[in-house]
């Protein structure tokens, strides 16, 4: 890393909320998140020198663009503040954070807010599914297709099945674990929902197949939510730590990052990888780049992973791509309980996208906030004991944009 970038904490909304039912404008979500973050972090508004806002499609869901400008609405002191909205589909939060980090490393800013926000419950599921289709190559992969993304990630499962074999029971177990973890997370969308392995294995009125092998329990759900994380230079972080009466060493930092963009069409991705042991090599490269930058030799040097389980198949993919198993053998980590809370390398202690929720543009930021919570011992009942390093994987589209961070401490 060129220079240290520290995480100072932040806030996420309760992902179980339905902001359309509350009849709220998306700016209310940004405001509540910001005000909650001030309470959690004690950041002084005057210290914030820029805001990076991740959002996928507010123009479609809320008829509202230009979201960076809504950060300025939060406080009269923000008039004139540099802000920008970032978009990379479901990785919008991730790329906003990458840009924030780069600006700090370039010496332009000392303390910045990274906001991820999405309000999705404004439309019915068919219309929402069509909007999400714009994260793929719309004309080729989504137009006229009902729920295009379950189909695309169903194809990911099909590809695993073709190359290595894939059992439905392992996907069901992944869903069960994410829901179980979410029950421990007071901000998780599904914390009070019923889930069991039997339910996830079954198919029926309440767990219909959406597309091929993908059933409702394999999917993250439509979610409204926002999250903020503050990133800072070493200079600012040192002052902040002093003001909070803690050591600078107690603040986690960005140890490594990776960012790749694969061909947008899923069929092209798969075709390109036919001679590669990894089904999604560009995702694998983002992970290995981050590990290398962090100076890590193996995934076992991580304490936890917050991965992009928009579907159970994407978490299944993440298991071998992070190196928990050999390619194609993710099922071993599932069966051996490695990925469960209490396992050797828990995945998604927060509940992930399936359990915690997936407000598209907010997810990458929420993952970073959870990495901060884990590495500072403030993750409530879903705390991984003594977590020192947490990796995040945020995907945009059908693993087109890949953003990986490794957050925590070197020693």
């Amino acid at each position: 890393m060129n220079s240290n970038v520290f995480l100072l904490g932040g806030f996420q909304t309760d992902f179980a909320r339905n902001w359309a039912r509350e009849k709220k404008h998306i700016s209310a979500m940004i405001r509540e998140t910001y005000e909650g973050s001030l309470e959690c972090t004690k950041i002084r508004p005057a210290d914030i020198s820029a805001a990076f806002v991740g959002n996928f499609a507010a123009e479609l869901y809320c008829m509202q663009g230009h979201l960076g400008a809504f950060f300025v609405e939060l406080d009269p002191a923000f008039k004139g503040l540099p802000t920008c909205r970032y978009e990379a589909a479901c990785a919008s939060g991730g790329v906003a954070a990458l840009s924030a980090m780069a600006h700090i490393q370039a010496g332009l800013y000392d303390c910045v807010a990274v906001v991820g926000v999405e309000q999705m419950k404004t439309v019915d599921s068919a219309r929402g599914g069509d909007f999400l289709g714009t994260a793929a190559w719309y004309e080729r992969e989504s137009k006229g297709v009902e729920f295009p993304f379950p189909k695309l990630f169903g194809k990911l499962g099909d590809e695993y099945d073709k190359r290595y074999g894939l059992k439905a029971e392992h996907l069901a177990r992944i869903a069960e674990i994410n829901y179980a973890n979410a029950r421990r997370n007071p901000n998780a969308q599904t914390r009070d929902w019923y889930m069991s392995y039997d339910h996830a294995c079954g198919t029926g009125q309440y767990n219909p197949a959406i597309s091929g092998r993908i059933k409702v329990t394999d999917c993250s759900q439509v979610t409204d939510g926002a999250a903020i994380i503050y990133m800072a230079s070493e200079k600012y972080a040192a002052d902040y730590a002093h003001r909070c009466g803690i050591s600078l060493d107690a603040l986690p930092r960005v140890l490594g990052w990776g960012n790749t963009t694969a061909p947008i069409e899923f069929a092209v991705k798969v075709e390109d990888s036919k001679n590669d042991p990894y089904v999604l090599p560009w995702t694998r490269k983002a992970i290995t780049d981050a590990m290398q930058r962090a100076g890590l030799d193996s995934c076992w040097q991580l304490s936890a992973i917050e991965t992009h389980d928009c579907f159970t198949t994407s978490e299944y993919m993440a298991i071998d791509h992070f190196g928990l198993t050999e390619p194609g053998k993710s099922w071993q980590a599932v069966e051996q309980g490695i990925i469960a809370l209490g396992g050797r390398l828990p995945i998604n202690p927060s509940g992930g996208l399936i359990g915690c929720g997936h407000p598209v543009g907010a997810t990458g930021v929420r993952q970073l906030l959870d990495a901060y919570k884990q590495t500072t011992g403030s993750a409530w009942d879903y705390q991984v004991p003594n977590a020192r390093r947490v990796a995040t994987l945020n995907l945009g589209g059908s693993a087109t944009t890949n953003v990986v961070f490794i957050i925590g401490f070197n020693s």
């Binding site: 806030f11 909304t13 309760d14 909320r17 039912r21 509350e22 009849k23 709220k24 404008h25 700016s27 209310a28 979500m29 940004i30 405001r31 509540e32 909650g36 309470e39 029950r183 009070d192 929902w193 019923y194 889930m195 069991s196 039997d198 339910h199 079954g202 029926g204 009125q205 309440y206 767990n207």
Partner: protein
């Protein structure tokens, strides 16, 4: 106390409360017997439980039957017998007599009642029955409303109450509120007093205007008269009668049941359960709503009231400016504003006056806060104190409504905390 609960018998499982509460038990891994007068009734309850869980998988944990064929097996096996039969003292007592003859001596027996006197319910039963008898008052629907008030009567083993408080919280994921065995406990006592006052004001201002003035923007999921329609006017009246009979406090004179409520009940206008007849509201096939008019005893079309301070508050809530919205409400003047001020003041004053009466003093406002937010999805009393600017401002509001100021409102400091996600209680519509 070391106890294990694996099997539960739900009595009155054909009803909404029994079937949905029993469903929560099945969802959390317990084996549950559904008992009612007919097996078909119990099966109807099972369907409701499946719909609540959104999963057919829980059906494997539920065994349905009727009182004639399954009662003995279920009640003799059960570690916990959850009684959800009709809110009628005689019916419940008759059921307890049968249960007492069959149950294991260490089996827990709990009632979901909050309105009948708990002390009287187990009278005449065995020592072990009374020692193991308590109230577990689930809120409805329990899949969404997580509150559960818990209390024993004079002969309940205190260790059992402690055990159930922990069990309901940890195992069944309820928001547990330990209460005293006072009529209607905390939540219904507070809410129904407000409902009573609002139904009284209906005579002067009409149904549409009252639900507009005390609408969701004031910190509630549903407007008050729509909530009474959901509960049922017959239940509303029964709870108020119980409060009139079994409680005595400074606000007792507000527990009114206007004569038009009796007229509505007599005409079968009970609310959502008598949709064709209506309640406070009547929805036509065209989708249009009509509003009950006590003067003509008939339904009238709406006129869409719009009051400037209300509309301004909603607009501010829409963009997340909650405190500013309440500043505006408090600064507003005129008849309508005075009504809103009075209802807010009554809510706050009565809630704080109940500390020590229905919840233990050591919990402060916390217990009442919990039941209002998790049982009704209302902004809890201390949050409203926070929103209007603190205890001092709340005292002024209460005084301006000519209400007595409870000492606890001056001394309790819970309102000073930060309320994360508080905005979910304030709806901009």
């Amino acid at each position: 106390m070391h106890r294990q609960i694996q099997t539960v018998a739900v009595l009155g499982a054909s009803g909404t409360v029994g079937s949905l509460s029993g469903g929560i038990l099945a969802q959390n891994g317990l084996n549950v017997y559904y008992l009612s007068r007919t097996k078909e009734g119990s099966q109807k309850g099972l369907s409701r439980a499946v719909k609540q869980a959104r999963s057919e998988a829980i059906a494997s944990r539920i065994t349905c039957g009727d009182y004639n064929t399954l009662f003995e097996k279920a009640c003799s096996e059960a570690d916990w017998i959850l009684e959800c039969v009709a809110e009628d003292m005689a019916v419940k007592k008759a059921m307890y007599e049968k249960v007492d003859a069959i149950r294991r001596k260490d089996a827990i027996v709990s009632s979901v009642t909050s309105s009948l006197p708990l002390e009287e319910l187990p009278q005449g039963r065995s020592d072990s029955f009374r020692a193991n008898f308590l109230s577990t008052h689930f809120y409805n629907p329990p899949g969404k409303m997580l509150a559960c008030e818990v209390t024993g009567q004079s002969q309940t083993d205190p260790a059992l109450v402690d055990f159930m408080i922990e069990y309901l919280g940890q195992k069944l994921r309820r928001v547990v509120i330990p209460v005293k065995p006072a009529a209607a406990f905390a939540g219904n006592r507070l809410a129904f007093l407000l409902f009573a006052r609002i139904t009284e004001l209906v005579r002067q201002f009409g149904v549409e205007m009252m639900d507009y003035l005390i609408g969701p923007y004031t910190g509630r999921l549903l407007p008050p008269l729509a909530t009474i329609d959901l509960v049922g006017l017959d239940i509303h009246k029964a709870i108020l009668l119980s409060l009139q009979t079994y409680t005595q406090d400074a606000m007792h004179n507000k527990l009114v049941i206007p004569a038009y409520i009796d007229t509505m009940i007599a005409a079968g206008r009970l609310g959502n359960k008598t949709r064709a007849n209506g309640g406070f509201f009547k929805k036509l096939d065209s989708g249009q709503f009509l509003y009950y008019d006590p003067a003509s005893e008939d339904y009238i079309p709406g006129y869409g009231p719009r009051i400037q301070f209300v509309e301004k508050a909603k607009n501010q809530i829409r963009i997340g400016l909650y405190r500013q919205a309440f500043d505006g409400i408090l600064q507003a003047s005129g008849t309508e504003a005075r009504i809103v001020h009075e209802i807010l003041a009554t809510y706050i004053a009565y809630a704080y006056s109940l500390i020590g009466q229905v919840t233990d003093e050591k919990y402060g406002i916390e217990g009442i806060d919990k039941v209002m937010s998790s049982g009704f999805h209302w902004a809890c009393p201390s949050l409203l104190v926070n929103m209007i600017g603190g205890a001092e401002k709340a005292v002024e509001l209460v005084q301006s409504a000519d209400l007595a100021v409870p000492q606890t409102l001056r001394t309790d400091t819970a309102w000073k905390k930060y309320y994360f996600n508080a905005g979910k209680y304030f709806i901009a519509g």
